[in-house]
C-alpha cells in the first residue's frame, strides 16, 4: 500500500469517526439540563423552560425548573433566549413550554397592543380573552417587576420630582435611556407621549435595565431611564422610580406563560403554588443576592423553595 493512500485511509477513518461522534453528541447536547432533548416545533414529552435574557427572569425560570424536577417532571432549560419579540413565537408553537412572564407587558407587547387594562385583574382578564389558543397564563403572583421612569436621587431632589407628570417642563433637556424596543412598545415612548404628553430631546438605546442603562443614568449620559422596579441597584445607586398615576405601565405581576397542550395537573399545581408565595419583597431580595452578591441562581432558587415549603 503506497504511503499516500495509507494517509488518505487513515485520514478518512479518523474523519469519519470524529464526525460521527460529534454528530451524535450534537444531537444530544443542550445547556445544563436535567435531561436532553433537541428542540422541536411540536409539543414533546420533555418540558422546555425558557427565560428572557436578564438575571431576574433566569432566576424565576430556575425556580420553576427546580420545583418541577422535584415533582418528577422531565425538564430541559433553555435560558437567555432573548427579548420577548424573539421567544414569543417560539412558545406559541411549543418549542418552549413554560416561560416566566409579566402580565402587563405580555398583554401590550404581544397580545393586544391597544389594550388599556391596568389593574392585575383587568390585565389577566384581557389576557385570558385574547391569548392565542395554544397559550395560557397560570395564576399571577403578587410580585411585580414593572418598567418605570427612573431618575437619580439627586435629579429628583433638584427638580422636586415624585411623578412622571412632573417631567413635562424638563422634557427638552432630557435624554431618555431604555432598551431598543422601548421606542416601539406601546408602553414605551409611545405611551409616555400619550399619557403625559412627553417628547424627550433624544432616546438612547441601552439595555434591559442592566449595567449599561444604570451606568448611563449614574454618569449623567441620560437624565431618565427605564429601570425595572426590582432592580437592586435602585437601592445601591440611589435611584428613584417616579410614580405613574396614569398607569402607563400596567400591572406587571410575575406569572407563568405556558403552552397549553403540554400542561398536566402536576405542572399547573406546582407553578401555582410557587406564584402564591412569590412577593415583590421576596423577588427583590433574591435579585439582590443574585445580581449584587453574585450568588448562584440555583442556590438562591433552592433557598426560596425550601423556605416556602415548596418542592425542591
Amino acid at each position: 500500500m503506497s504511503l499516500s493512500s495509507l494517509t488518505l485511509k487513515r485520514g478518512a477513518a479518523l474523519g469519519l469517526a470524529v464526525s460521527a461522534s460529534l454528530a451524535l453528541a450534537a444531537c444530544g447536547s443542550s445547556s445544563p439540563s436535567k435531561s436532553s432533548n433537541p428542540l422541536s416545533g411540536s409539543a414533546s414529552k420533555t418540558v422546555v423552560i425558557g427565560s428572557a435574557n436578564f438575571p431576574e427572569n433566569e432566576l424565576l425560570a430556575e425556580i420553576y425548573s427546580l420545583a418541577l424536577s422535584a415533582k418528577g417532571v422531565k425538564v430541559t432549560d433553555k435560558f437567555n433566549i432573548g427579548s420577548r419579540e424573539v421567544y414569543y413565537p417560539e412558545i406559541k408553537k411549543g418549542a418552549v413550554t413554560i416561560i416566566p412572564e409579566y402580565n402587563g407587558a405580555l398583554l401590550t407587547t404581544s397580545v393586544d397592543t391597544t389594550s388599556t387594562a391596568a389593574s392585575t385583574s383587568a390585565v389577566d382578564a384581557a389576557l385570558k380573552a385574547d391569548l392565542p389558543s395554544t397559550l395560557e397564563i397560570l395564576n399571577p403572583s403578587s410580585a411585580q417587576d414593572k418598567d418605570s421612569v427612573t431618575v437619580t436621587q439627586a435629579y429628583a431632589t433638584a427638580h422636586h420630582l415624585t411623578s412622571i407628570a412632573q417631567l413635562k417642563p424638563l422634557e427638552s433637556s432630557i435624554t431618555f435611556g431604555g432598551p431598543p424596543e422601548f421606542q416601539t412598545r406601546t408602553d414605551g415612548l409611545i405611551g409616555l407621549k400619550k399619557y403625559y404628553g412627553l417628547t424627550f430631546k433624544k432616546f438612547e438605546a441601552l439595555d434591559e435595565s442592566g449595567p449599561i442603562t444604570l451606568a448611563a443614568l449614574v454618569d449623567g449620559k441620560v437624565q431618565a431611564a427605564d429601570v425595572f422596579t426590582t432592580t437592586p441597584q435602585i437601592i445601591t445607586d440611589h435611584l428613584v422610580s417616579l410614580a405613574d398615576p396614569k398607569n402607563n405601565f400596567a400591572a406587571q405581576n410575575v406569572l407563568p406563560l405556558v403552552y397549553k397542550p403540554a400542561m398536566t395537573s402536576t405542572i399547573v399545581s406546582t407553578l401555582n403554588a410557587i406564584s402564591a408565595k412569590l412577593t415583590t419583597a421576596a423577588l427583590l431580595q433574591m435579585d439582590k443576592a443574585v445580581i449584587l452578591d453574585h450568588a448562584n441562581y440555583s442556590t438562591v432558587a433552592e433557598g426560596f423553595l425550601k423556605a416556602e415549603g415548596l418542592p425542591s
Binding site: P179, P180, E181, Q183, T184, E204, A205
Partner: protein
Amino acid sequence: MSFLQFAWDWLKSSSQWSGPDGIPIRVLQHLGYTALSVLIAAVIALPIGLLIGHYRRGGFAAVNVANVWRAIPTLGLLILMVVLLGFSALTWLIPLVVLAIPPILVNTYEGVAGVDEDLKDAARGMGMTQWQVLWKVELPVAIPLIMLGLRTSAIFVVATATIAAEIGLGGLGRYIIDGLASNNYGEVAGGAVVIVVLALAVQVIFVGLRRLVVPTGLREQARASR
C-alpha cells in the same frame, strides 16, 4: 418573505437614510471604528513583522501566537473591557485592535521572510547596509503580502465591529442589535446587507490601493506565474 426581500423593503424606506440613526451616519461611525483600529494595529504590527521577517527569528512563534490570538472571543474581550474600563473610547478600541493585529503581523513576516535570498545577496553585494536591504529590497517585494494582510484585517474588523453595538456602541451593528430586540427582521437584514456592501467596498478600495502601491514589476510577475 426572503431575507433579501426584508432587506430591500427596509432599505427602500427613505427614513433610513436621514437623521442621527440614518445609514450614512452609521456607516461613517462604522468606518471610523474600523479605520482607527486597523491603523493602530498596523502601527504595532508592521514594525514587529518587518523585524522578525528580516532577521528570520521568531517567525514560527509569531505565526502560532497569531493563531492563538484569533482564539480570543471578541464578545468576551469587549465585555471585559467594559467591566474594567467603563464606557470609554478604549473599551471598543482595544478588542478591535487586538483582532486586527494577527493578519498584519503574519503577512508582514511572511512577506519579508519570503524574499528571495539571491535578491538580498545581490543587494548586500552592492554595498547596502541592513537597513537599506530592508527598506529598499525586502519591503517593496513584501508589499503585496502586506497589503493583503491590511485588507484581511480591515474586513475582519468591519464584520466584528458589529458586535460592539452589544455594549451600546453606534455603527452598523446597531441595526442588528436593535432589530433583534424588536423582532424587526427588516432592520437586521438591511443592516447585514449594508455591512456586506461596506466590506466589499473596503476590498475594492484595497485593490485600488494595491495598484498604486505595489511596484509594477511585481504585479506583472505575479500575473505571469498564475
